[in-house]
Amino acid sequence: MIEIIRIIIIVLILIGAFLSLVAAFGVIRLPDVYTRNHAASKAATLGVMSVLLGTFLYFYAEEGHFNSRLILGIIFIFMTSPVAGHLISRAAYNAGVPLADVSVQDDLKTKKGSQVSVNQEKP
């Protein structure tokens, strides 16, 4: 039984490290800030949650120590990291950071343009 749990711990930690590495490659190679934010805020979050779950299982199985702070850390990172990604992406769009040259569609720009035209027609 303990061997199975060890194998699960090893697999979780390796998946977490691999996902963090993939997130870093995405942040290096993708063309603009929105795609980089997409890579960083999703892959890094899942990777770190996997590593923390492996750590929790390690302390629970090997030392019989139920650590509730790790569970709280997993839940906190799961809640706050996408929110932080959304906030910084919205701040980048409102600060006027352009999209990459290969992107073809900008729905938010057309929506804001129509709102501006409606506001200009009012007075």
């Binding site: 060890r6 711990i9 090893i10 930690i13 390796l14 977490g16 490290a17 691999f18 963090s20 590495l21 997130a23 870093a24 490659f25 942040v27 290096i28 800030v33 980089r36 934010n37 960083a40 805020s41 890094a44 979050t45 990777g47 770190v48 590593v51 923390l52 492996g54 750590t55 390690y58 302390f59 030392e63 120590h65 650590n67 702070r69 790790l70 709280l72 850390g73 906190f76 990172i77 706050t80 990291s81 929110v83 932080a84 990604g85 906030l87 910084i88 992406s89 919205r90 701040a91 980048a92 409102n94 600060a95 950071v97």
Partner: protein, 94 residues
């Protein structure tokens, strides 16, 4: 067996952090740097968890929660500064 795996994972996360530091230095705009710094903070959480496995101690596990909270607050403050120019707004009634 487990210690070798943990050391390999630490190496992978270190390479990932070096790549993110490259993006912090080179990043063409300010939001690029903030995204990379947020990801570095998230990766630091994983480093602390793996080091506490390696040292067989549970004394560092509060730091995980602390770094998560600090990274979130820092990113929210930076994005609010980028969007509005101030972090804490003044009250308009006075």
């Amino acid at each position: 067996m487990l210690e070798v795996i943990v050391q390999i994972s630490l190496l992978c996360i270190s390479i990932a952090m070096v790549g993110l530091i490259y993006r912090v230095i080179k990043g063409p705009t300010i939001p690029d740097r903030i995204v990379a710094l947020d990801a570095i903070g998230i990766n630091l959480v994983a480093v602390i968890a793996l080091v506490s496995i390696l040292l067989k101690t549970n004394a560092f596990l509060e730091i995980i929660l602390l770094i998560g909270i600090l990274a979130f607050i820092g990113t929210v403050a930076f994005s609010k500064y980028l969007e509005k120019g101030v972090i804490i707004e003044r009250d308009r009634d006075h």
